[in-house]
Symmetry: C2
Subunit: 359 residues, 2 copies
């Protein structure tokens, strides 16, 4: 008939508006509430025929336990809390996608706690350790204070950190320092020696570590190649495309401008590309650009970058939490994911290495 309607909702056996409770089920099955609870949770043995009477009643009433009431009684909500900064940023989306997939098989709903302002984090952390807590948590990118960690610990919530190293806690990370070095070496091998860096400020609002680590790797790679670092070649500012674009513009305005720029993230690299375009600089002939993350846009733009397995890291974090929800005393392992150089169309040989007529 193709009405386009969906119709798998259980029929409303109860009167309109009201919903079956555990008491209704108990009454109908001729038992008491705890017995129903026991078959629901398999928390104690139940005689075979009682169990089937209860199951029948549940079926007939279309009964579904209230997660809220259950949460209040148990002191924990059957949920995994995910605390993540800027959840609509491409990298966050990819990580969340991985987690969602990781949790799908289990019947664990995930509740997303987006952090956009400082106070959001405090509030969410408070919610985590309140009366009724989640079964587990994933905290993305945030370096918590020892006080916060103690709280988490006291609250007894299995927690996995994603994209940040926390001593004594399970974590899923990449080696950002090695990644920064990888990106920089790629440029050096192409003959570049004036290599700029665009990244986040050292002590940003949230204290994320990735940009700092990548810059450290950048410096290491320069040092090991005996390239004199130029302090003015490092520009840091609040994360985002626009700011990165301005920072890059400063670099490109230098008398001895860099022939290559390493951006600490693809988002920032896109800003760098925009700056080059505004100045009429051809990429990669006159400016090589390399990013970090390999978000979707990178492929579209042909951006050379260091690929970080974002979705896979989310999946792994999900696995780790689920493992710890089942077995709370697993050792805290640090899972390191591999990085990979992805060469596309924004990096090439340094201009000074080319024959004059090609420049």
């Amino acid at each position: 008939m193709g009405t386009g309607y969906r119709n798998r909702f259980p029929p409303p056996i109860q009167e309109e508006g009201s919903v079956a409770t555990i008491a209704d089920v108990a009454r109908r099955a001729g038992v008491t509430k705890p017995t129903v609870s026991r078959v629901l949770n398999n928390s104690a043995p139940v005689a075979h025929d009682t169990r089937s009477r209860v199951l029948a009643a549940i079926e007939e009433l279309g009964y579904q336990p209230s997660v809220v009431a259950r949460g209040l009684a148990r002191g924990r909500l059957h949920t995994i809390a995910v605390v993540v900064p800027f959840v609509t940023h491409p990298s966050a989306v990819a990580r969340v996608q991985g987690m969602v997939n990781g949790f799908r098989e289990s019947d664990m709903p995930v509740s997303l706690y987006d952090v956009e302002r400082r106070e959001d984090l405090d509030q969410h952390l408070l919610a985590l350790t309140s009366h009724v807590r989640p079964e587990g948590a994933v905290i993305v990118s945030f370096r918590l204070s020892p006080v916060d960690l103690d709280r988490l610990n006291a609250a007894n919530i299995p927690t996995v950190f994603l994209d940040v190293d926390v001593e004594g806690w399970p974590s899923v990370v990449t080696d950002d320092r090695a990644g920064g070095a990888m990106a920089t070496r790629h440029l050096v091998e192409l003959g570049h020696s004036r290599i700029g860096f665009v990244g986040d400020p050292e002590d940003g609002e949230f204290g994320f570590s990735s940009s700092r680590e990548r810059r450290t790797g950048y410096r290491q790679a320069l040092a090991e190649q005996r390239i004199e670092p130029v302090p003015g070649h490092e520009r840091m500012g609040p994360h985002g495309r626009e700011v990165a674009s301005e920072l890059a513009d400063e670099l490109l305005a230098l008398p001895q401008r860099p022939t290559a720029i390493f951006a600490a993230s693809d988002t920032q690299a896109i800003g760098v590309l925009e700056a080059a375009q505004r100045r009429g600089l051809r990429v990669p002939q006159e400016l090589s650009v390399i990013g970090f993350d390999d978000i979707e846009a990178a492929a579209h733009l042909g951006l050379t970058t260091v690929r970080q397995p974002l979705a896979a890291s989310g999946l792994e974090a999900a696995r780790q939490v689920l493992d710890r929800v089942q077995s709370p005393h697993l050792a805290a392992i640090r899972h390191v994911l591999p990085l990979e150089l992805v060469t596309r169309r924004t990096t090439t040989t340094a201009p000074e290495r080319l024959p004059a007529h090609d420049r």
Copy 2:
């Protein structure tokens, strides 16, 4: 000193692990629980000095009411439920971003219900109408059955539909049919007459209407321009880049292949571009491609498309829900957002309109 730590967590005045309850506050303030509850919710007048004693106690204990207990007692959780298919798809991300921004000012947390499989929707709808319900809901793209709508109505949850028209319910939509016509006319005006269409199946798993409407607009535009529709020029398949790519490939394999293709979404348009590339067809010289939505990738790829204000629509939906949470009996308005043709680099004059040597 720049440890990078954050430290705004309220000091643990209570013993470790335990958390202050309303009873603790009452005791400390020398009153009873209902009084505390009254100052918390402004639900009844409270003497000035008792109120300040209570507030002081709340402050000192770092007390925060349990949302779960409150939810159980009230029968509604202080939350807006957002039911959205494929939340990691670019268009969903943009819409959610808009909603998150719309809800930020209010103190309403939003809980995201992602739907990836048929049964997810039923389950989430059930959760909405259960014992403890959200304050309001936004349902994205889904056309619900009358039974489901009745439930929603009986449950008395202010609900706004986004990206789908529902008779008698508030909705935020665009005119997909007009958009489809707009895209098609653009191609016709460029001189194209063999125009292919790639979109979703007519009766997809979820019965989304947008692709169908856009195709209707496509047909209308062809008709009004007296262009004979070619049935084989319409290809439909499950939404996604890969499938769209295959469908486009079929079109491009036709003896009289289309010189332009209208894809019902940017995601599918990207698939079309891939198909063209595989066949070595130059875009736009040999094939014009237009999409729909204007997701981020569209700008990166230079894709011509019909822009739909995704984030703005999310924001508007949020506003509507908040309005209705405050004033439950507002009329059901249908908010139509404007569409806009965005011309970029994937569409151009039809080959047969060019001088021979240019083809």
